[in-house]
Symmetry: C2
Subunit: 309 residues, 2 copies
C-alpha cells in the first residue's frame, strides 16, 4: 500500500460530505489518522457508533491542534465562524480547506481569521446525493467526480499540490480556477437548477389536496426528477443562495428572459420556433454523454422504475 497523503486529517462537520471524506480517506489510505468534530452532539455520538474516524473530539480546538490537513465540511454560512474558532489552535504549516459550493464568499469569510503560518486552499468536490447526515456518506462518492480548487494567487505551491494529491487519492479529478469563475459556472450548472427544482415542487405544493395527491401519483411523467433535486438539505441550499446571490440572480435573469420567449412561442402557436428550440437543446445532452458525464442507457440500470411522459 502507498503512503498516506497526509499524516493527520481533521474534518469539521460529519454530514454527507464530511463522513464520505472520512470513509474515503481510510479506504484509499489518504490520511494516516482521522479526527472528526461536529457541532451536534448526536452527530458525534453517531460517528463514534459507526466508527468512521480514529478519534471523535468534543472540542473543536482539540480536533485541529495536531492536524496537517483541516477540511471544513459545514454549510457555507458557518465557514467563517468555524475559521474563527479553529484559527488560534492550528499547527503552523497546516493546510486548511473546505468543501463549499460557493467559493468567493467562503474566501471572504475565512481568510481574515487565518494567520500567515497556515495555508488556505479552498475546494469544492462536485459530488453528493439528496441525502444528509453521517449515515448518508460512502467511500466512493468522489470517484470520477470533479473537485475544483480555487487557490489564491500567492498560495503555497506545495500545499496546493498536497491537497490536489489528497483529492486524487480518494478518486476525484482535480481542476483549478478562480473563485469568481467557479461561482459563475456553478450558478448555472448547479444553483439555478436547484432553485428551479425547488420552485416547481413548491408550485405543485400550493394546489389543493386532491391535485397534490395526483401530482405524487403521476410524478413519473417528469416531475419526479425535480423532487429528487428539491429534497436536498435546506440549510446547505439556503446558505448557497445567500452566499452566491449575485451570480444566481444574474443566471435567473437570463433564465426568465428565455422562459418569456418560450411562453410567447406557445401563446402564438409558433410550432417551428418550438421545434427549433427543442432540437437545439438535444445537442447539449449528446455532448454530456460523449464526455462520459452520464450514461445513455435508457434506464440507468433501473428499467422497472423509469419515468417520463
Amino acid at each position: 500500500m502507498s503512503d498516506a497523503v497526509v499524516e493527520r486529517l481533521a474534518l469539521i462537520g460529519a454530514g454527507l460530505i464530511g463522513s464520505s471524506i472520512a470513509r474515503a480517506a481510510r479506504e484509499f489510505n489518504a490520511a494516516h489518522s482521522i479526527v472528526i468534530y461536529d457541532a451536534a452532539p448526536d452527530v458525534r455520538a453517531r460517528v463514534r457508533e459507526i466508527g468512521i474516524a480514529d478519534v471523535v473530539e468534543d472540542d473543536i480546538a482539540d480536533a485541529v491542534k495536531t492536524a496537517d490537513l483541516v477540511i471544513i465540511c459545514t454549510p457555507v454560512g458557518v465557514c467563517g465562524e468555524v475559521a474563527k474558532q479553529i484559527a488560534p489552535h492550528l499547527k503552523p504549516g497546516a493546510i486548511i480547506s473546505d468543501v463549499g459550493s460557493v467559493k468567493g464568499a467562503v474566501v471572504a469569510q475565512v481568510v481574515p481569521h487565518l494567520s500567515a503560518q497556515v495555508h488556505f486552499v479552498p475546494a469544492h468536490p462536485i459530488a453528493g446525493t439528496e441525502f444528509s447526515g453521517p449515515d448518508a456518506g460512502f467511500a466512493t462518492l468522489f470517484c470520477n467526480r470533479w473537485c475544483i480548487l480555487t487557490p489564491p494567487a500567492n498560495a503555497d505551491a506545495d500545499a496546493v499540490a498536497r491537497l490536489d494529491d489528497f483529492w486524487t487519492r480518494i478518486g476525484a479529478k482535480v481542476e483549478r480556477m478562480s473563485p469568481a469563475h467557479h461561482d459563475k459556472v456553478l450558478a448555472l450548472t448547479s444553483h439555478l437548477p436547484h432553485l428551479i427544482a425547488y420552485n416547481i415542487v413548491g408550485t405543485a405544493d400550493d394546489f389543493g389536496e386532491q391535485t397534490r395527491s395526483e401530482v405524487i401519483k403521476f410524478s413519473a411523467s417528469g416531475f419526479r426528477d425535480f423532487t429528487r433535486i428539491a429534497s436536498s438539505d435546506p440549510t446547505m441550499w439556503r446558505d448557497i443562495f445567500l452566499n452566491n446571490r449575485e451570480a444566481v440572480l444574474e443566471m435567473l435573469g437570463r433564465f426568465n428572459e428565455d422562459l418569456s420567449a418560450l411562453q410567447k412561442m406557445i401563446r402564438l402557436n409558433d410550432g417551428d420556433a418550438l421545434f427549433e428550440f427543442f432540437t437545439r437543446t438535444r445537442a447539449i445532452r449528446r455532448s454530456i454523454i460523449e464526455q462520459g458525464q452520464d450514461t445513455s442507457a435508457p434506464d440507468f440500470g433501473r428499467r422497472d422504475k423509469e419515468p417520463k411522459a
Copy 2:
C-alpha cells in the same frame, strides 16, 4: 398461457411507444397478431428487420381493415389526420385508441372523423424514456406505470373494459378520468417540467463556447438531470405544447409567480423564508417515495455515476 386480449392489433406509428406496445403485446400475449404501419418507409424497413410485428403494411388502409384494436402511436399533432385516413377502412365494432400526452385536443381532432360503428377510447400510458424510434422500445416499458383512459360519457362499456384489460395485460395500472382533468394534471406533472428543463438547457446554450464546455464538464452538479429531460423528441413536445396550450400557460403563470417570490427572498437575503420553502418541498419527495413511485436509494443503482452538488 391465457388467451390474447384482442385478436388483431394494429399500431399506427412505430416509435418508442408503438414499438414498445408491439413488443409487450407479443411478450405478454395481449394480441393474437400484430400489424404495424408507419408513415416513414425507413421505419417500416427497420420494423421488418427487427421482427416485432407479424405484418408490416405499406398502406395504412390495409393495416387497419381487419384490426379489432387500432392504437394511434403518432405525435399528438397528426392524430386527427391519421383518424381521417383510417376511418373509411375500420372494421365495425373495432376499438380505436391512442397514446397521446394530451387528451382534450386529441378527442376534438379524432372524433369528427369516426363513425358510430367504432369505439373511440383515448388513452395515455405514462411511460417513456428520452429516446425515440423503433429500436428504443422494450417490452417492459409499461410495467407498473400508469395508463390513463379518458372514455367519453357515452362510451361502450365493453370496449372500455377491453382496452383496460389490454393495458393491464402488458403491465400497466389503469386509471380513468376526464380529458380536461387529465390535461390539467399532466400540465403540472409533465409538460411544465419539460418546458422548464428545455428552457434551462437553452439558457446554458446561449453562453459562449468556453462556458458551454464547462457547463457540460460540470453538469453532474444538477444540470445534467435537466438535459436528460430536455433531450426528448422535439416533434412530440412541440405538439404537446401546442395542443395543451391553455393548461400549460396557466401552470407556467403560477410557476412564474412563485419564482418571483423566491427571487425576492434571495435579493432581500431572507434566509428564514428560503429555509422554510426548501423544507416544505422535501415533504413532497417523501410522499413520492412512500407511494413507491421512486426509490430512495442514493444511487439508483449507478453509484459511480451519481451527480449533484
